[in-house]
Amino acid sequence: MRRSLIGLAYALGLPLILIAIWWIASLGATSIFVPKPVPLVSQFFEVWIGDRLLTDVLPSLGRFLAGTAIAIVLGVLIGLGVGLSRALRAFTEPVFEFFRAIPPPVLIPVFALVIGIGDDMRIAVIAFGAIWPVILNTIEGVRAADDVQTETSRSYGIHGLGRVRYQVLPSAAPQILAGVRQSLPIGIILMVISEMLYASSGLGFSIIQLQRSFAVPQMWSGILLLGLLGYAVSLLFKLVERRVLRWYHGLKELQNAS
């Protein structure tokens, strides 16, 4: 009881202090560019709960989900294939290095050319940007499969798909999920950017729009929404990861404790 109260105090302490400072500092401010906590929160509900939820927020989320889902599935498949073969690894490495290094936003104009300026383009951009961490981490994870585990598998006649299923995938899972964790924020970023160019709807579009029309508190509420979204995605990921990698975290905790 006392412990959880202390925990709560730690979790809320600094944020409350910061908000208080912000509130006090903005009390006397008259410039409309300085955000104030109270209007910000009231604007938040006004702006985002309503039509915008359906026309902007949900479609954005849909594109984000579609793009990252494609990235994760394709990324793991490609990573597995490439990771298991030394030759394929050498064959693809420079090309992958290059593609990974391309800042994905610069592909928006290019994708707009080849695919057009619809949702497919946005999803493609998100998928393209988010796939590299998944691929590269899967490759590393597969490659780092423990020798002793591999020999154990072999000595018990576990090979081929059985080995992928029982040994390679689970042992690479922590690394794969580390890749997924990196790819999620990239997905969000690209969701926003892809809506800032050639857009007619979406979160990124709305926020730029609000900024252009000098609806400053509303714009801040949009930034807040993006922050919340990023936070929610990372929280959700953590939950999923905790479940999937229960063994891994248990193991790490134990190692760290010693």
């Binding site: 072999r154 000595s155 018990y156 576990i158 029982y166 689970p170 063994w247 248990g250 193991l251």
Partner: protein, 288 residues
Amino acid sequence: MPPENDIPAAVVAGRGRTLAPEQTLLSVRGLKKVYETDGGDIEAVRDLTFDLGRNELTCLVGPSGSGKTTLLKCIAGLLDPTEGEVVLDGRRVTGPPKKMAVVFQEYGRSLFPWLRVADNVELPLKNAGVPKARRAELVAEALESVGLAHVPRSYPWQLSGGMQQRVAIARAIAYQPEMLLMDEPFAAVDAQTRADLEDLVRQVRERLGVTVLFVTHDIDESVYLASRVIILSSSPTVIQEDLVIDLPDQRDQLETRALPRFTELRHHVYEQIQLAKRGFRPDDARVG
């Protein structure tokens, strides 16, 4: 330097004992293994010949780097020998054979940390297509026999080192091998657990009629465990001595180790290994 006092020598210097085909489970013939590396070839094992009889418990000792692990891997079909052959039950070993199980020293890395204890034991059976009901039975039996029936739902890393190694042994038992290879399985567990595990291995051999080849660094352990100790020379490796352990079959951690004969055998093996370390080789002896 020939072996001294009343310890019987190997049948032929530089050779292990060979048996008649019907008694033999495993034959190693003229085994040679050369590793090809960047820095040139490393001849880890030069020429090994010996047979293991059914239900024997043989210990393999030798200086560090003498190729014990290499030999074991060749037998397990995990490495291809450069020359010579390994024959298990009449069939030449080219890949991991069905009825063989290996227990590695690195229990922490040989168990799959994402599987619970029971699932770890079950996995090879599942993969081999053993029916579910039979699997459950085998797993329960195996865990029972290593004294871990109470923790099937734990993860391996939640167990102590000794318990983990027992899980690895249970996995090997459940797989019902005819031959069990163990590579320094107890090197990293504490002395007390080690004693318990040693007795467990002897039990398992007795009850399941399995043939065991046991690699160890520990001279006491080899003498205590085995009915026979094969001493390897230093690398490139040949057999330094193939020693019969003529201790009573019923062994006990305190009593057996207190026997004068135990001390003698221990002493003998120790000296042989010291010899091996100093580079003495049986073929040198023959020439010299």
